[in-house]
Subunit: 198 residues, 2 copies
DNA sequence: CAGCTGACAGATTTCAATATCTGTCACTCC
DNA sequence: GGAGTGACAGATATTGAAATCTGTCAGCTG
């Protein structure tokens, strides 16, 4: 009955879950579907994930982490100035989100649905991202490029002020003409605010 | 049969519509309910509004305009500096939205539902608000308090950067502790960005 | 005759029955 | 004997028939 001789791992289940979500969408993707895709009974899936909610949480966390990891490289790019790294990081975040939303709108919509109701996962993700921002801004403060009372506060402010360019709730506006200019205007204003001598 | 002898006006219908929306919510509020509340047949309502969508659009526009009007006074408060007017205006916008959301969460949720799908009305509302912001920033540019390439662009940037504090999508976060500090951090950063000599 | 009515057709929503799914567990079978 | 199974009970989702709603319009009524 099993379609492969490979052992059933959490990772294989997550892969199958993403595939099922892609095919069926968040409302109609069932644990039974995931098990069928793997050629096992649904009881086996429950051996690795206590509940359907836990499975969804894990697959969503995995999805969010993929974005996070891509950005981490920019934080430590010592060949560029902190200001440039900040601009690059924000542009990369916008680009990554826009790409995800544009390439596979249905999967993006699926994860957008999954994400709300998963407060903890989102909170961690945001903490991760603002942590990266904090390191860039702290480097700028240390080098004298930026003048900020507190890098962590400034990082959260920058993150929230650019929400329009990374929050999934705004995804439908990411294809509008002029969005690039809006992004530049917001980032320009924020960078000037960080630079300004206090 | 009519419960009053007053003539049926668009305004009276809008008032009744808001009341019905408050009572029944957006999903269950019907034109028949509105007519019943007014003591007339639903045919009479269709004499003033071509469709249910038009009625909803009108009542939503009316609701948005009430916020707009409150803020307009701050724009022309010549006794305060442009920077202070900008801070006051943003704080008033945040406060107005937060108040609406906190006082009558169900009505707020109702209008939040109505608002999306009403692209034109929202667009006009945002144009109205950014227009007010533009006048404040232009005044600051003229007085030398601000240094900006283009007040209208800066106004849109400020508006979008503060979206977290007025966009209904974020309403549930407006009661979190620390939101005030976040607001101050974002506004502070933006004001510094506007001030900075370019 | 200007404003209002209410019966009507087609579209949409509701509700209850039916079907499917979630999560458990005693069991099987390498 | 530990990964995997599948029947099961209660929870959730689907479906289609019945009820309600939207939008129109010929005809009241003051």
């Amino acid at each position: 009955m099993p379609s492969t001789t490979e052992t059933l791992t959490a990772e294989r289940i997550l892969e199958a879950t993403e595939e099922v979500l892609r095919r069926h969408g968040p409302a109609k993707a069932t644990v039974v579907d995931v098990a069928r895709a793997l050629g096992v009974s649904h009881g086996s899936v429950y051996r690795h994930f206590r509940t359907k909610a836990a499975l969804r949480e894990a697959v969503t966390k995995r999805w969010l982490d993929r974005t996070s990891e891509r950005l981490a490289g920019i934080v430590t790019a010592e060949d560029r100035s902190p200001e440039q790294r900040l601009r690059d990081w924000l542009a990369a975040l916008f680009e990554a989100k826009r790409h995800k939303a544009g390439d596979d709108p249905e999967l993006f919509a699926t994860y957008t649905v999954l994400v709300d109701g998963l407060g903890g996962v989102v909170h961690d993700h945001i903490a991760d991202l603002t942590g990266q921002l904090t390191r860039i801004i702290a480097a700028g403060a240390e080098s004298g490029d930026f003048t900020v009372p507190d890098p962590a506060t400034a990082a959260r402010a920058v993150f929230h002020a650019t929400g329009r360019f990374h929050d999934p709730g705004y995804a439908r506006e990411w294809t509008e003409p002029g969005i690039e200019e809006e992004f530049e205007a917001v980032v320009g204003l924020l960078v000037r605010g960080l630079r300004a001598a206090g």
